[in-house]
């Protein structure tokens, strides 16, 4: 897993470093001793160095013995959460969270349909209710309904 972490972080760091040379940032910091990109580039150099070290150590280390099923489950939950986050901006909090809750429950190993359905409806609705009506922190709404 360290090899995966190191590789992904190395790739992300490299892309971010590349983005600091975007023509858009060339006009930044006129009149200053250093550009606003100076400090982020130092951080990104550190980022690239450290993620390379993790990647190399991960490749040289023996297999971690982590069951494939666990890796798949963790990856599935991460993908589900990311998809849910994106879906919230499109269809609103409630319509995104209800299926997401059920999907994550199944991914975590729960198999009884009735509790999954019941909690998948109850928890997001209760959360939406508490946030919207009690503490008045309004959650993303869907484009089709005013309330939810």
């Amino acid at each position: 897993m360290d090899a995966v972490y190191g590789g992904v972080l190395l790739l992300v760091g490299a892309l971010l470093m590349l983005s600091t040379f975007d023509p858009r940032y060339q006009g930044f910091g006129i009149g200053s001793d250093v550009s606003p990109m100076f400090f982020p580039r130092i951080l990104l150099c550190l980022w690239l160095t450290l993620s390379t070290v993790i990647l190399v150590r991960g490749l040289r280390a023996p297999a971690d013995g982590w069951p494939r099923q666990m890796k798949a489950r963790a990856a599935g939950v991460i993908v589900a959460v990311l998809a849910c986050t994106w879906a919230m901006t499109v269809v609103g909090f409630l319509l995104a969270m209800i299926p997401c809750f059920m999907i994550v429950s199944v991914l975590l190993g729960y198999r009884r349909p009735l509790p999954i359905l019941a909690l998948g409806l109850l928890v997001p609705i209760l959360t939406w209710f508490v946030f919207t009506t009690i503490i008045e922190v309004f959650l993303p709404t869907s484009p089709w309904f005013d309330l939810i």
Partner: protein, 361 residues
């Protein structure tokens, strides 16, 4: 001392007292549920503070913080699964006591030690925080920079298992702070054309995402824990006063260890609990009995982990550096309420600071 009366008047409102009560109950319940923990308890209560005043919201979070640390000992003793990471060391002797039919006494010892540790660290907080704040007022840019470097080096100190990963995490954190407007020139960095990023990343969503979601991912990656049912006399029995005498030294030493470790930025109560347990095992005449249901093991762990609560507030309130992850979330709440922890807090909001001390009591 002249701020005690206004602090007491801030605390003695129905809203604040109800907040303390609710925070205590919520903290104990969430702390007792394995897999949630102090940070999740604080994160869950945090949105409710948006519509509360300053004093009730601080009181709520402090109550949740202290009681969740204690609540972890309940599941640690009864089902050998710590409710919070801070209570992991309590399993070592608390569970054997429960198996032996002394679950009620183990819970009593855990409660008594937690109360003592919490009160001890409150004294440390009341005495040390103003002194530290007085020194902090002398801080100039050079001293502030040195403090920042010190707090960042703590990342390497606490991530001894993998210093490289700890340093990378710190680097990523510093980079995330660079997203948005540059504080000197105002130029917007790393927004990638996304309007919502043009103002930068807000502390609270990053904290919630980091701690709460990370916990979900870690749980998804771990196999379900296997445990065995315990037949034990579950109840609550406070130990008699005369039973305290052999353990007074351990109680004081563990509380001191917890308070000291809590003051250090970047550490946590789990570290304090294990160090205290190891030290008690090394120095106690009953050391050989540790791990078989010796009450001193429960005392050492619980006194230390609750003593961290007050100690962790010293750098948080006086210097604006969170003592652990939980105080990092609390600092976010203080910022939301318009209170800036740090060198000027004791000067600008002294009544609020003393109200926080009183609500810890």
């Amino acid at each position: 001392m002249e701020y005690l009366a206004p602090a007491f008047s801030l605390l003695a409102t129905p809203a604040t007292l109800i907040a303390v009560l609710i925070g205590t109950v919520v903290g104990i319940v969430v702390g007792a549920l394995p897999g949630l923990g102090t940070v999740v308890a604080l994160t869950v209560c945090l949105p409710f503070t948006f519509s509360m005043g300053q004093a009730p919201s601080i009181a709520l979070l402090l109550a949740v913080y202290c009681s969740s640390v204690y609540g972890g000992s309940i599941s640690a003793i009864l089902i050998n699964t710590p409710g919070t990471p801070q209570s992991a060391a309590t399993c070592l002797d608390g569970y054997p006591m429960a198996v032996r039919g002394e679950a009620d006494l183990a819970l009593g010892w855990a409660t008594a030690a937690s109360v003592f540790g919490g009160l001890f660290s409150l004294v440390v907080l009341v005495l040390a925080a103003p002194q530290l704040a007085a020194v902090a007022l002398q801080f100039g840019p050079i001293e502030t920079f040195a403090l920042l470097v010190f707090s960042l080096t703590c990342i390497a100190w606490v991530s001894r298992e993998s210093v490289v990963k700890g340093l990378l995490a710190g680097t990523i954190g510093l980079f995330l702070a660079a997203v948005g407007p540059d504080p000197m020139s105002g130029d917007i960095r790393f927004d990638f054309g996304i309007f919502q990023l043009s103002a930068g990343l807000q502390l609270i969503p990053v904290l919630v995402g980091l701690f709460a979601l990370a916990e979900v991912f870690v749980r998804a990656a771990e196999p379900a824990p296997e445990g065995e049912a315990v037949v034990a006399r579950v109840g609550f029995r406070l130990p008699p006063l005369r039973a305290w005498r052999p353990y007074l030294k351990t109680l004081l030493r563990s509380s001191g260890i917890g308070s000291f470790i809590g003051v250090l930025p970047g550490t946590g109560a789990a570290v304090a609990a294990f160090i205290s347990y190891a030290e008690a095992k090394r120095s106690s005449p009953r050391g050989a009995a540790f791990g078989t249901g010796e009450p001193e093991g429960v005392i050492a762990s619980e006194a230390a982990n609750n003593a961290v609560t007050g100690g962790a507030l010293v750098p948080t309130l006086a210097l604006g550096i969170p003592g652990d992850a939980a105080t990092a979330v609390m600092m976010g709440t203080l910022l939301l309420q318009g209170i800036t922890p740090g060198v000027r807090l004791f000067v600008d909001n002294p009544d609020l600071v003393y109200a926080a001390f009183l609500s810890l009591l």
